[in-house]
């Protein structure tokens, strides 16, 4: 160190250092631009649904080599590779648009079998276990069923009918004496295939849409216990209060076996006036 610092630097050495510095700086700039671009381009639009078995988006972009073999082996031409600047997904990666061509949930899952890299997880062998997205009845004002009609189309076409999507009977407040059969999607069975969205009878946009799970689902609130799911009591030693059941011995008039009070209210007085 001390020997070199006292000697004049050789021009060759100096040039080497300059070149190295220049190369490093140039590549650092190029690298940062690339990293910025990658961060920018990886944002997946909400309408682009990844194929069945796709790893979580972050892992997917490390795994998918954009070969398109999944696209080729999809018998329904559901999948497409994103084109630069036209489709929002990272260029060359596979996705589908449910309203155009939904996933038909092939039993042998050829797209997953075709994937050479495991970007589509080969652990997925039962298509019912796939979670491409989650259907959401997003427009509850225009959905025909929500208006009180019996369209039911999304419900009928669902490959996991009565599990992924059910019709929930509600009172029709508008007419006062009809029912509304609300399509309700259940995340524990919906695969996100998009058949409901594809088939929604509304012109243009569908009232029911498949969204990526990250958009469609909130995180469970950890601090609210669901007593019906978990049998653990909130407080360890629960205080046991006496139950007052309707029936004989109570003052509940409406319940069978109730009894009349021994006193009579004066005529014309309202019950609200008691205790004045």
């Amino acid at each position: 160190m001390s020997a070199t610092s006292t000697q004049p630097k050789s021009p060759a050495r100096r040039r080497f250092l300059q070149d190295a510095a220049r190369g490093t700086a140039g590549c650092a700039v190029a690298g940062m631009s690339l990293a910025w671009f990658v961060q920018d381009a990886r944002a997946l639009p909400d309408r682009a649904i990844r194929p069945p078995g796709a790893l979580p988006e972050d892992d997917f972009l490390a795994a998918c080599i954009r070969c398109g073999l999944c696209v080729r082996d999809c018998p329904y031409d559901t999948l497409v590779l994103a084109e630069l600047g036209i489709d929002g997904a990272a260029t060359g990666t596979p996705f589908f648009t449910a309203r155009d061509v939904p996933c038909e949930m092939c039993e042998d899952i050829p797209c997953v079998v075709a994937c050479p890299t495991g970007a589509l997880d080969h652990e997925l062998t039962d298509i019912d276990d796939s979670r491409m997205g989650l259907a959401v009845l997003i427009d509850q004002e225009n959905c025909l069923n929500a208006l009180g009609l019996r369209c039911d189309v999304c419900y009928r076409v669902c490959p996991v009918i009565d599990e992924a999507i059910t019709l929930e009977r509600r009172h029709n407040e508008r007419s006062g004496h009809h029912a509304i059969f609300m399509p309700v999607v259940h995340s524990d069975h919906c695969t996100g295939c998009g058949k409901c969205e594809k088939s929604c009878v509304l012109p243009g946009e569908a009232a029911i849409k498949v969204l990526p799970i990250r958009v469609a689902q909130a995180d469970q609130a950890e601090h609210y216990k669901r007593s019906w799911d978990e049998n653990t009591p909130l407080v360890d030693e629960i205080i046991d209060l006496p139950d007052r059941l309707p029936g004989t011995g109570t003052d509940n008039l409406a319940a069978p076996g109730g009894f009349e009070p021994t006193f009579k209210l004066p005529q014309g007085a309202t019950t609200g006036g008691v205790g004045q």
Binding site: C27, G31, L34, I65, C67, L69, R72, E83, L84
Partner: protein, 306 residues
């Protein structure tokens, strides 16, 4: 400058060897490039699915998996260990190129090569200045940078911008705005930097160059004694610096072009009217005397005319 360097590049070769021998490897290379591209296009255009996929990954006759080893490497450093199929595919491709020369990919397969070759041809015709010439090592910096960004972002980073796969995939699956990148590469090579992209920047070429660093198939300046300094080989070679050590070597120096930058394109073989160059293997030790320089055969003063 001698009289011969003044002749248009390749004119003597055509005169002395005929059109076919003067363009043999160029024609074969274009055929090879078209062949590999059409294999992939047979499916989408004619419904003949011999080969599915693209250069990043493919399946031939439903049995032979092939994967780009550079993309697989990025995938691995990004944190994904690929399935066996992709690994086997990458090993096969890697082994083949390690044997025949990594940059054979560049000159015989890569779809960007006709683009940069066209730019270089036009560059020569228009006699444009050579422009920005990054250091030869820049592409290795690029390679390291790409792997670094793959690690940092956890993605196959180069595939976000790689003009090779965008063009290739584009032709097969639909191109979008990938044309812009291809035109960009063409203009870059034409106006900003002669032979700038493939030789100086492309990290894919750098990777394949390293992969084939010890490859078997090599070009040799076997008949270097016969060289008449027409400089045509330097004019056509995309990596002209690789020629000098072999062609200008002394008796004791190997006539083999051993630089990993050589793309084995064979244009030097075509363009040489006195047949200095040949394809051979790296262990070929046929003696190749250097040129004898004396007063009757002085070294021409071409200096840096290349």
């Amino acid at each position: 400058m001698s009289d011969k360097t003044a002749l248009p590049v390749g004119a003597e070769a055509i005169r002395d060897k005929g059109y076919w021998l003067a363009y043999r490897f160029l024609i074969l290379r274009r055929l090879s490039q078209s062949f590999f591209l059409s294999l992939f296009l047979l499916g989408p255009w004619f419904g003949i699915w011999w080969v599915k996929g693209n250069l990043s990954g493919s399946l031939t006759f439903n049995v032979l998996p092939l994967t780009d080893p550079f993309i697989s490497l990025q995938s691995i450093v990004a944190g994904h260990w690929p399935e066996m199929t992709a690994l086997i595919g990458a090993l096969i491709v890697g082994a083949v190129y390690a044997l025949i020369g990594g940059r054979v990919y560049c000159s015989w397969v890569c779809p960007i090569n006709p683009v940069t070759d066209a730019a270089s041809w036009l560059h020569r015709k228009l006699d444009l200045p050579k422009g920005w010439q990054p250091k030869r090592g820049t592409k290795y910096f690029m390679l390291a940078m790409v792997l670094g960004v793959s690690v940092l972002t956890g993605t196959v980073a180069w595939e976000f911008v790689n003009p090779i796969s965008m063009l290739h995939r584009g032709l097969i699956f639909g191109v979008g705005f990938a044309w812009a990148l291809v035109i960009g590469v063409f203009l870059f090579d034409l106006v900003l930097a002669r032979r700038g992209w493939c030789g100086h920047l492309c990290p894919v070429g750098a990777f394949y160059g390293l992969l084939g660093g010890k490859s078997l198939l090599r070009v040799s300046a076997l008949e270097r004694a016969a060289c008449d300094d027409c400089m045509d080989c330097f004019a056509v070679c995309p990596e002209m610096q690789v020629i000098t050590p072999a062609l200008r070597g002394k008796d004791a120096d190997s006539p083999l072009i051993l630089s990993p930058d050589c793309t084995n394109c064979g244009r030097c073989i075509d363009v040489c009217s006195v047949n200095v160059f040949h394809f051979t293997h790296r262990f070929d030790e046929t003696p190749a005397p250097g040129r004898v320089r004396d007063r009757t055969n002085p070294a021409p003063k071409v200096g840096k005319a290349a």
